[in-house]
Amino acid sequence: MTPTTQHLRAARYTWGGDEFLFVEIAEAMSLTANFTANAMASALAARTVDGIVDICPANASLLVRFDPDVIPPGSLEELVRDIEHEVAQLSEQTLETRIVEVPVWYDDPYTGETVARFRKGHQRPEGTDLDFAAEENGLPSAAEFIRRHHSSPWLVSMVGFVAGLPFMFQIVPQEEQLEVPKYLSPRTDTPPLTVGHGGCFACVYSVRGAGGYQMFGIAAAPIFDPAQRLADFEDFMIFFKPGDIVKFKPVGEEEYRAIQAEVAAGTFTYRQAPVTFDLQRALDNPTTYNRDIMETLNGL
């Protein structure tokens, strides 16, 4: 069972050389650990401290880059410990964010081609990554795995690896988390917009390159647009932010092609709605809570 309240032990502070402070909030992934990482990152950013170069919240940890010529390591640690304490005292654990619908063509021929290219050395050389994922999760078929993948929303728990790549954690009790091992040896190639999965995390590959996550399908619209051509990228070339909530929407070839045409014409925009994410409600009753937050998309 998912506990209704999750208490984290005190974070672990350590140094990544003379320019990085690393704060491990928890060893294990959980919504609570991720919420704490993002809350600490926001609180630290709000202090606008000289010498802090970059604040990088991750799944269950926080990495802070600093300039030790401006802020001594000891002072920074003291400040972040203060913030950890402050966040732990918060009576209301809510996040003003948005829910975004991400159209995905699951089990598509493009991903199929890449999956076929990297069968050698795979855990399950026969079949596909989807077949493997279904088996690993004790599900009867790839189709059932796909259904589970898009029927509950995901929280963007971290952005990175490469430019704009979202790591996503499904908002379901731990026993319902889809868990799939990564490739035994990383691939040398992954097409952009491939929907991947490794451990308990989903991702959408933002650029072409190496990768180790199992591959399930292809997202229909860009998530990284250095030329900032589409309206969703007017403010910044990267679409996702930590704390975003993602609802995957399965599309077939026809709809995929229609979205691609909108992207080419520069008219595509993501369906999205503002939402207040309430950690306690998500932990207490994820099924009802997910239905409520997904409902906000339907009024559009």
Partner: protein, 322 residues
């Protein structure tokens, strides 16, 4: 003015001091791998330290200049030719419009830098001209140079190159040794190694493999032992796996206990491998200068020693600009 690229070289890219502040969305700092050498090249041509230069790896470009200018080449020792005549490295090189610059073989190290008066004048993206090829961002069209490219050069605000110094004195030039000691600060997930594993990391002689680029450098040597454990939820199955976290630049990971990787200036910003130590900021240039085959020793230091080394490195950097 501009350089016309006849041959691009192996991986020639526009770089400056880097793009800070976007690591939280996966965009690495980038910038010249060997910052000191790049800075020295800028000093020789009368630029600011922040001006963009060309970074060449192994095989340099062949190019012509369309106007009179001054260039300087620093970094890994390499033969340089202007119109086929050998010229000096680490010194100001006046060029006349139409001159052709080309390179011979490297005799050590990996990367060298071409600075030109006025700086390479590609558009600044997110505060930097550095090329982030994986994200097709910055530099010239977001990629390494190609034959036929025209590389724009700034006008140096209309000022003639200030004769700051004619050449870099020998004692300030970096060395390109085949056996180096790199100082590291143990930390991050070092507690996940066995005592024997940590001992191996800091006592073995590691050989830099050819798998070394702007993202990271991989070293061959003995296995490094991880403590077995029941893995936390979401962390992946190997003892070297963690729940995906941010990667410090310069951090050392040892996936599966084999072949440590040092992440460098185009680092991936996060992932699921535990890091066990980080190269101190003062020694990142030293790592960048390594050629495959370089014997590398990782020497553990304290934070105080890392900060003292950082101050020493800053003094050397400043000396160039006096």
């Amino acid at each position: 003015m501009a350089f016309n690229i006849l041959e691009p070289g192996l991986a020639t890219s526009v770089q400056d001091q880097g793009r800070l502040g976007y690591y939280h969305v996966g965009i690495p700092q980038g910038g010249a791998m060997d910052q000191l050498s790049a800075s020295m090249a800028n000093a020789l041509v009368g630029n600011a330290a922040s001006d963009a230069v060309l970074e060449c790896a192994y095989l340099g470009p062949k190019f012509t200049t369309d106007a009179d200018t001054v260039i300087a080449i620093t970094g890994a020792p390499v033969a340089i030719f202007v119109n086929g005549t050998a010229v000096e490295q680490w010194t100001r090189l006046p060029l006349t419009a139409g001159d052709e610059v080309s390179f011979g073989m490297l005799t050590g190290g990996t990367r060298y830098y071409i600075a030109v008066h006025g700086g390479i004048d590609v558009p600044s993206v997110l505060g930097s001209r550095s090329t982030y090829a994986l994200g097709a961002l910055g530099g010239l069209h977001g990629r390494t140079l190609a034959a036929g490219d025209t590389v724009p050069v700034g006008d140096g605000a209309g000022t003639p190159p200030r004769e700051r110094r004619e050449s870099i004195p020998d004692e300030l030039r970096p060395a390109y040794a085949k056996d180096i000691t790199v100082r590291v600060l143990p930390g991050l997930y070092d507690h996940r190694l066995t005592a024997h594993g940590m001992d191996t990391l800091v006592t073995a002689s590691w050989t830099l493999t050819p798998v070394a680029d702007r993202t990271g450098l991989r070293y061959a040597g003995p296995d490094v032992e991880w403590q077995p454990r029941t893995q936390p939820f979401g962390a992946g199955s190997d003892p070297s796996n963690i729940v995906d976290a941010g990667y410090a630049i310069g951090s050392i990971q040892v996936p599966g206990g084999k072949e440590p990787i040092v992440l460098h200036r185009d680092a991936v910003s996060g992932g699921g491998y535990a890091m066990v130590a980080t190269v101190i900021s003062a020694d990142m240039d030293l790592v960048a200068r390594s050629a495959p085959g370089t014997q590398t020793h990782f020497e553990p230091v304290t934070m105080d020693q890392a900060l003292a080394a950082r101050a020493d490195a800053a003094r050397i950097r400043r000396a160039v600009w006096v």
